[in-house]
Symmetry: C2
Subunit: 209 residues, 2 copies
DNA sequence: TGAAAACTGTACCGCCGGTACAGGAGGGGA
DNA sequence: TCCCCTCCTGTACCGGCGGTACAGTTTTCA
């Protein structure tokens, strides 16, 4: 039946929004069923407990996250063959996508899980860890392609540089949310772009330098 | 009379550790009183409710945070008169301090509050916002001093660059905690240092360039 | 030594996560 | 047409937790 999937998705939608605003501990199942118009029994038909809900929520979030990065960076790749230019373009596209979010970025579930860790089982913690490692591999792969063509101006570890992308995104989200300045996140991504540009682009080719 | 302050501090110590691991919603008052060996009535003698506890916790955390930055960067300032060199040294000292933490960074309360926002009153949200703005002013002040001497190689907004420091710290904490790699945070700070160095240090003076 | 500060003890309330289980609507296949 | 399976609803209950109320007790310090 497809009806069940639809209800499940509706629960996950409501839960995701609530969890990003109040954390897992601050989100009650009762409020979720009230907003989705389902009964408590109905909820527990779809999810055995809160941990199971968190698992489904996190997996869905990570999949969606990966899909967005796939789209952005493959689009950037189509527009230019140069690995550096396509990476810089990708960061530009990402920044534009982020600044187009009407109410700012709603928050990252990976960070939410990180700050609730002790109340989740090992499986969720592993899933979360793997999500961050996947980011490292993704950005690391692109950075290695760049380094094969452009020698970095300063010696840098590829994985650490890849992590820098994740750091700026996660940190930018925290800043943006806390300051209630939706644009701060997009600006941070552009600042990171400046860093990457400066690190790999030869001095001679740099504008106004 | 001073006994009360001591108990209050003990509650705050236990609460801070718990909240950083499980968030506010995931931390119960009952577990706090169990660990501090106090009764429920005793707890509510010191704090009217959970919100009041959060307020005290956040204020104390921010004060301590400011104190640490004051110490690090004033020490760096004593060692060299050049604003750029002292800032770079400060980041180095910060990175060393972070990598010396035995179990890695326990987490940032500002981020915890950020991911629980909707359940706090305006006062706490304002306090949190002001903490981030204080970071922006602090790093912005130092960066302005640098820019008065060293023209940046790329055009950058000072506040955005100052925010980059906070971003990398907050993001680095999330990565470090999630990956269970205590050193990642310190590495990210050094990566940020490389960025600042490259942005301001003249090409001629740069090593192996 | 006495008043204020710093608690303890007890009883209670309502919300929440979770369990148990019975039953019902609705659609799809034999 | 009938039955079975999915997808729920309804009801009742449990223990933990945040919070209140308030009376009583110990500790501290001036």
């Amino acid at each position: 039946m497809r009806k069940g999937e639809e209800t499940r998705t509706r629960i996950l939608d409501v839960a995701e929004a609530a969890v990003l605003q109040k954390g897992f501990g601050g989100t009650s199942i009762e409020e979720l069923i009230a907003e989705t118009g389902i009964t408590k029994s109905g909820f527990f038909y779809h999810f055995r407990d809160k941990n199971e809900l968190a698992k489904a929520l996190l997996n869905r979030y990570i999949e969606n996250d990966e899909r967005i990065y796939d789209e952005i960076f493959s689009r950037a790749r189509e527009l230019t063959g140069d690995p550096l230019q396509s990476f810089l373009l990708g960061l530009k596209l990402l920044s534009e996508l982020l600044s187009d979010l009407p109410n700012g970025h709603p928050g990252c579930l990976v960070a939410t899980v990180c700050y609730y860790e002790r109340l989740f089982d090992r499986e969720i913690q592993e899933t979360n860890r793997n999500a961050v490692l996947a980011w490292r591999r993704r950005f690391g792969r692109m950075l290695r392609e760049i380094m094969a063509v452009y020698p970095p101006r300063e010696p840098v570890d590829v994985d650490q540089l890849a992590d820098m992308v994740s750091s700026v995104l996660e940190g930018g989200i925290v800043l943006s949310k806390t300051l209630k300045e939706p644009n701060t996140l997009a600006e941070q991504v552009l600042m990171l772009r400046t860093f990457v540009k400066m690190l790999f682009l030869p001095v001679a080719e740099m504008p106004r330098a």
